[in-house]
């Protein structure tokens, strides 16, 4: 299987995470608890699809073998996807959905804030653009975590269960990795050394307001998005998301 250069792998990690998170949000179409929440989730999803496309455009330019954003999204297999394990997890109830969204938004917010200052101009431009949108996303998901955590006994319990369900996947949000080290050594992106601390601080602050407890740091386990070792959920998600382009390549309307 193709492994691209470090920078391209990094772009795919950002793009794939945004796309898969967006695809999960789309699953709420027609089922959200309130119309306003449905609009909210679809709008966040739309922003993320756009961000994914920007990362993919740049990745495709680097890969330079005739591929494009659509091909990267719809014609790669599960093992080639580099998205965070967190975002491919099933939506569960609204508490699980919001918990995943919040962890991801906090990660995006801090990653993009650091990447805004990247020497690589493409990365800096996409990060600056995306960050404006993600600031709204984080505000919304933080408010929901606080509202549900500090709400009724039922909503609080559901938040506790939701954190239990997805916390183990957060190890990827705070791990330090060789790819990013070498990218910052080579001067493409700033060092992401502070990322774990920043992410943790945001989670702690919101959880405190939400009367929720931050669990001990999640430990690494055998799955890893970086090597394409995903949970069983990604394959099913891709089967649905990629069906049309696989069955009718280059279909248009």
């Amino acid at each position: 299987m193709t492994k691209y250069d470090d920078l391209t792998e990094f772009l795919l990690r950002l793009g794939d995470s945004a796309l898969i998170q967006a695809q999960r949000l789309c699953e709420w179409t027609g089922r959200a608890p309130a119309l306003e929440e449905e609009l909210g989730m679809m709008n966040v999803g739309l922003d993320l699809v756009g961000q994914a496309r920007n990362w993919y455009d740049y990745a495709a330019e680097r890969i330079n073998d005739g591929t494009d954003a659509d091909a990267l999204a719809f014609r790669r297999d599960e093992r080639a996807f580099r998205n965070l394990l967190l975002v491919e997890q099933p939506n569960g109830d609204f508490a699980v959905t919001m918990t995943k969204q919040f962890f991801y938004d906090a990660w995006q917010f801090h990653v993009l804030t650091l990447l805004k200052n990247a020497n690589d101009e493409h990365i800096a431009a996409i990060a600056t653009k995306s960050l404006k949108e993600v600031t709204y996303h984080l505000r919304r998901s933080s408010q929901w975590v606080e509202r549900l955590g500090d709400g009724t006994d039922e909503s609080h319990q559901r938040m506790v269960n939701a954190i239990d369900t997805v916390w183990r996947f957060t190890f990827e949000l705070v791990e330090q990795n060789d790819t990013e080290w070498s990218l910052s050594e080579a001067g493409h992106i700033p060092a992401l050394t502070e990322l774990p601390e920043l992410w943790h601080a945001t989670v702690s602050e919101v959880f405190t307001n939400a009367t929720l407890t931050v669990p001990d740091a999640a430990s690494t386990f055998y799955l890893s998005a970086r090597t394409g070792m995903h949970s069983e959920h990604l394959g099913l998600l891709l089967a649905e998301m990629q069906f049309l382009q696989r069955a009718y390549p280059d279909a248009s309307w």
Partner: protein
């Protein structure tokens, strides 16, 4: 001043010049946003540059939101409007940097939004406004300040949904970004 492309206003055509750039701008004044058809692409501030390159008219456009579904539609509308005005092969390119901000919406654009029933963005898109989320929005229908946010996101990514507590009408607010 570089020679422009052939402008085919009649069968003969002629090379474009500086005044044609002004003409291109005035064509763009009439290209409307498909989602808010009272404001033009110029009102929104998404046209970043117009000029000649290698004998072709170029237009640089920046998207409002990364996932704005109107982006391609707007590009097509711009191209068609320019071709109709006689510009033979306009080059339309996208630029992400600098990122679009609601600060670029013109005064005319703000007035048009308001007249259409959409509250224009309040204040500047600095980080504090974005993070705190506290915005006093004036009702576009009756002018009252006594309004509340119903939802962070409205009918499109660029708007949030508000309600006026004075005239009781719901309305869209074009949020700062």
């Amino acid at each position: 001043m570089q020679a422009g492309e052939l402008i085919v206003t009649d069968q003969l055509g002629r090379p474009g010049d500086k005044t044609d750039i002004q003409r291109a701008y005035s064509v763009l004044e009439d290209v409307m946003d498909p989602e808010v058809p009272v404001v033009s692409v110029m009102d929104l501030g998404i046209v970043r540059d117009v000029g000649w390159t290698d004998g072709h008219l170029y237009v640089v456009v920046t998207p409002t939101y990364s996932g704005c579904p109107a982006t391609e539609y707007i590009e097509t509308s711009i191209r068609e409007a320019l071709q109709e005005a006689g510009f033979a092969h306009p080059h339309i390119t996208q630029s992400l940097d600098p990122a679009w901000t609601t600060d670029w919406i013109t005064d005319q654009g703000r007035n048009r939004l308001k007249a259409y029933g959409i509250a224009p963005p309040v204040g500047s898109s600095n980080k504090r406004t974005l993070l705190s989320g506290i915005t006093q929005v004036e009702c576009p229908n009756c002018g009252s300040d006594d309004t509340e946010q119903l939802s962070e996101f409205g009918s499109t990514a660029c708007k949030s949904l508000y309600r006026c507590k004075s005239c009781l009408e719901p309305f869209d607010y074009f949020k700062c970004i």
